[in-house]
Symmetry: D2
Subunit: 324 residues, 4 copies
């Protein structure tokens, strides 16, 4: 059993982390920190947890073995500057503070894409959990990058559920606006582009070219659906490619290649990423799906925790999908 603390305990990723960790057999949640809700019951904020926990928000941690930072982008550095963690306390950051700039003082954060950096993560004390769009896209392209097979521009459209925008109500998450609607935002300029490019380069694709990424807001709550293509020209045959993908992910308990075309709800409420690959017009076309709050955030964070503490990678992450 390890003692776990969660900082930023009222947001969506913290709620999802709680849903997962409350069933994790090796975890004791020692503290859930919230400056605004300290003293209140956790199920007064995450209402669905009624009956699952009597935990109370605290204003600081006690003596955790690991702390998850669910603070919002840019606030993790601030938290670490203002709070001295116990000696030996590991850190898993769900924000974007350390993904592209991994150093904090002499602490170095490993990029927590388990399928790429499994061995480094096992040895790491500090992990930067990848972004949701980035995870969905990188898992589709990693096998190609590892063989240096991406030689032309990458074309991506990816649609996200509303929970990716967090808990704070706003104009584009207002139900009257969002229901039965669809829109584009930050086309070609989304902040995850840097993370994706770095990762593919680190994976071995040394001549990476332009990534054209159009993110979209979907009228659903959970999940990311990515449609990706890049020039192929028969570098490998169709059969060879699919075999290679299966082989690449053979030891990964959450990534699978589907022979049939996929639809988003096949992964909702699970830690899985499903891929489907076709070949058309001289392109390889890959669709990739994840649940943005699970594999794209809190589930992947627990997967990282499992690796960092020597647990089975999938411990506590065999989740019943909702499917509908």
């Amino acid at each position: 059993m390890i003692n776990v603390s969660i900082a930023g305990g009222t947001g969506y990723t913290a709620g999802e982390l709680l849903r997962i960790l409350l069933c994790h057999p090796e975890v004791n949640i020692e503290s859930v920190i919230s400056t605004t809700s300290a003293g209140k019951r956790i199920d007064s904020v995450h209402r669905d947890l009624l009956g699952d926990t009597d935990l109370i928000y605290s204003d600081t941690f006690k003596n955790p073995d690991v702390i998850f930072l669910c603070l919002g982008h840019g606030l993790s550095r601030e938290f670490l500057e203002n709070n001295e963690l116990p000696v030996g306390c590991k850190i898993i950051d769900l924000g974007n503070d350390f993904r592209n700039q991994p150093m904090f003082g002499n602490k170095e954060f490993v990029f927590g894409l388990c399928e790429q950096n499994r061995e480094e993560i096992k040895k790491a004390d500090y992990v930067a959990n990848p972004g949701c769009f980035a995870t969905t896209i990188m898992l589709a392209l990693l096998p190609l990058a590892s063989k240096n097979l991406i030689t032309d521009e990458i074309h991506i459209h990816a649609i996200t559920g509303s929970t990716g925008a967090g808990k704070r109500p706003g104009e584009t998450t207002h139900f009257s606006y969002r229901d039965n609607n669809i829109s584009v935002y930050k086309p070609f300029t989304h902040q995850h582009l840097e993370e994706i490019g770095n990762t593919l380069t680190a994976a071995g694709n040394d001549k990476l070219t332009q990534i054209n990424f159009v993110p979209m807001r979907g009228d659903f709550t959970r999940g990311i659906f990515a449609s990706i293509y890049t020039k192929w020209n028969e570098k490998l045959s169709e059969e060879e490619t699919i075999s290679f993908y299966n082989e690449y992910y053979a030891d990964s308990p959450f990534v699978f290649v589907s022979e049939k075309s996929i639809s988003l709800k096949e992964v909702v409420n699970t830690n899985k990423c499903l891929l489907h690959i076709e070949f058309h017009n001289g392109y390889i076309h890959i669709t990739s799906i994840t649940d943005n709050l699970v594999k794209g955030a809190s589930g992947q964070a627990v997967q990282n925790m499992n690796l960092m503490f020597g647990f089975d990678e999938s411990l506590g992450l065999k989740l019943k999908g909702s499917s509908f």
Copy 2:
């Protein structure tokens, strides 16, 4: 042609009024008032009106023949206290300020339920437009009330779309919360109860008893679906009842009794109210549907305007339903 002004021009009911009035053959929109947006294009706020109008928000009216107050509940009195309207300017209030307390100085507001008060409205200068839940429920019960046939408690569940909660984002209109969700609010205590009771009494039901009304929030944007029953005991036969309803609404261009059971989208984006009547367990059971923004607000307001100015009651209100 009449000159029309709209006060409170940025909210949902004003937007809907604009959508309707821009196609109305006898209306010139002379001003759309907004204290916060004066000087801005109307299509910068109501984005769907791009290409339909070049109107600009103003900070006051000019010389309107009628002004629609779309100000939010409680703010209509304040507006009238602070603004002297031109002599002869009629008023249609979409708020709840004058529904139950009809006097403002020596001005008396007629309750604008066209199907009940058609003749009074034709002569009125000041009209209080009914609430959306109230409209949907009253139209279901008016024929019974007119014959003094409601002799026992009334049981109502009614579900509203999110636009009923207006434009301001909040916790219960946040897409991540509302999508695929349902909840009850203000059970047995909704503010429309007074309006409903007054109307049924005014219609002739002198021994009106308790109204049990459970409002619900639905995960759709437009419309109200009301399910209503009260003791029947064969006061009229099934055939007589349905005949009487058809007769009662024979001159009403927007209320119809359906022989088949009804579903909400049959009226969405129209000014219609559809009713369906069945008899079970000694009860008469009536389902009633409207579009909360049209028949429940801006469409009914235009219907009132048509009556007040001697136009055909349905002028500009033969709207293409969206149906899907």
Copy 3:
């Protein structure tokens, strides 16, 4: 470990049962029977199970300790007539065949509402799993019935998600129809009424009067939201009532009374039932929510299995809710 067979393996309740049982620590799924899909992979039908199982549909069972019948209403008797089960094989029927007529030859089916019949179920070999509407409504009323406190008519509106209508596409489950729509069906005549009445009587309410039940189709996929009221007249004070409910369900791991009003998604993808109680107009008003596929079907079936085999009642049923 027990060996489990599932008959009728392609439908929604079988899929949900598989999602739960694949993670159950004491279950080995020995066979999933489908006459139409025998020989095919299970993940070719329940697509979200890709990566979770390599099971293949079979055309019959082997030697199960328990068989779940997921055959559709009316087909369970037929299955039992045509198939001789191994000696000692227990049966859990998810259809409605044995809920009100519990005898099949000399086999007697216990009504599987765990919170009511826990001790009988522990000793039972044959269990009739309750219906989804019925479960949601009965759990709201059981404490009252157990004290014989229901003395007047019961008024119920309950809204169901589309998965309650099963897998076969039809007019009222067509997305273009159902999305953003709402409708009533079978008002006052739903087939679960008998089950509800029998249960409340069996619980001790000997003077049960009329139950007025209006079922509705909601535009969401999972869950049932029930709004229920009956005359109260201060039989118990508000505090006494809520205390009594808490006490009644103290040993039930899945039923909880919420002090705050509840919304459907608080239970989606869990085996929980949440209740909220208020008092108005001389009525006690109870809202009750479940996931129709979990607590209303397959989850409750596993809960019954746990009791029948002496496992912890909640084994394998601590499910991560989807919440959004």
Copy 4:
């Protein structure tokens, strides 16, 4: 006034045509043909038309000035082979039979993209109404094509509402599947590709290269959202391009360029097409939105009718958008 007949009167496009034509000031609907529903009331099929019409389905036409064919793809030729139309009767085909193969005997069908072929349509007796994806995409690209500015591959993702799949329930239009879901279908191979290519060539783009088109199924009912980009390299400046688009569509009453980014519901239930243009990464990026049943089908068909009969192009097509 002209006499209009509709063949194939029970489907979605016929319903939408009826919703529009019942309010059209120059149209008398003389017959609505259905082999399966002849003799039944039209509002028994299109339930939302209750109160709007007493029309009855017939089994054939009388003496129409124009007939709309709403028969499903491939069935228009069959209908014309089996039915001799009155002399002088014009034809507007909403199927795909004559879009790419315009000859039927000696009748030549003009491609009914009003913004491209306005003058030809005015003189035409036979018009092939464009497809919904095609319309949305072509209107985004026509100005570029007219200047021969498309010199590299075109990249398109476009998401359609469920009504595009028609009235017949099926696996991918089942609410339990479709709600909160998203998926790709026919990537790179959709049948509208030929129509799009032909049109752009006809518009003047003589060196048209590959069109990469990934269609997607959205979880909404109405509308198409297309995201399109192609290499730009400063052929025109940003300002010049937007000016040119505005100029190109200056005489088109339904196509507008938005300075702000657009969301699908801005056009739902209207005959409009909104475009938004940005420049990134050496690409011109165009988003384009229409309502698939209106501008993408029945609205455009009426727009064609207006042109063919010398009416104002927008007569009867100033529709109130639903916006929410």
